[in-house]
Symmetry: C2
Subunit: 148 residues, 2 copies
DNA sequence: CCCTAACTTGCAACTTTGTTGCAAGTGCAG
DNA sequence: CTGCACTTGCAACAAAGTTGCAAGTTAGGG
């Protein structure tokens, strides 16, 4: 489950408006769904939730809005090691990067922040002269419940 | 580019035979391509190379062989942050995990091993009681050449 | 408050990537 | 050499995402 977001609700909407991007009924609905999600959603799940709010929202609009958010660095795209299929999952870009651990048996996704993780990124920037814009650390294995 | 493999050529084939898996002409060709690749290949690239060796090799066989190798933990599947499209890239599972840094401008992929990376995994295993089977660390940004 | 240009949407058709059922072919243990 | 389980190729399918275009909507300037 994503970490609780500390910013005010509507932060994604605000971020887009600040960038001079036009706000529409459809976008407001999709942004709201992403902001209030209690778990990582894929495009199909976002569409299903959106349709319950406004039956006319189209699949294409969901993809286009996700593309917009990605281009602006406002969401991260995960694949969670394809444990649940070929699609992608989305989460608001967090203040601080974290890892995702997906259980290969039960499918549960845990998140984990770590200073060591931040330090690896620092090392890559320094030692490889690489300017990091996105860092995705995805782990698969057995969670504490399934491991026994 | 993948790290040079220190094992003898044919190691993938040997690994499958040891597991009692039947060897076919098609599998030998596909394994050879993966073993001698100088960069990460996706399914379509593997198929193209395979067809040059034996014109009858089928797309489906490539996917099934990749699935077999994945199930046996002999290759890792990467998406390199989808900088080059929606597909997946494959590499022989290395002795030691490494990160992949994909340049968002020129598309070049660098690899990097790090003690800190190994230590993060140790931390996850201990602190989260999570038994790691796969760890994928993918970074996107600008490489030293494109950064200036 | 209204006009208008620029942007956004929905639709349908399409592309790409990967999967499946099945008949025919093949590897390999005995 | 033989048999049978395993593998292949084919064709059809499925899932995920993209594109062109006509119609609809947003928001800034007058």
């Amino acid at each position: 489950m994503p970490f609780p977001q500390t910013e005010a609700p509507g932060a994604l909407q605000t971020a887009l408006l600040t960038r001079g991007i036009r706000m529409t009924k459809q976008r407001r609905i999709i942004l709201g769904i992403i902001e209030t999600a209690s778990q990582h959603l894929d495009a199909a799940q976002i569409l299903r939730k959106a349709v319950r709010i406004d039956a006319n929202i189209n699949r294409v609009t969901v993809y286009r809005t996700l593309g917009l958010l990605k281009r602006h660095g406002l969401v991260d795209e995960l694949d969670l090691l394809h444990v649940k299929g070929e699609g992608h999952f989305y989460e608001r870009r967090p203040q601080r990067d974290h890892m995702h651990m997906t259980c290969l048996r039960c499918g549960k996704v845990q998140e984990f922040e770590s200073d060591l993780f931040d330090r690896v990124k620092g090392q890559v920037e320094r030692d490889c002269h690489f300017h990091i814009l996105v860092a995705r650390f995805e782990i698969g294995g057995y969670c504490s419940g399934c491991r026994k």
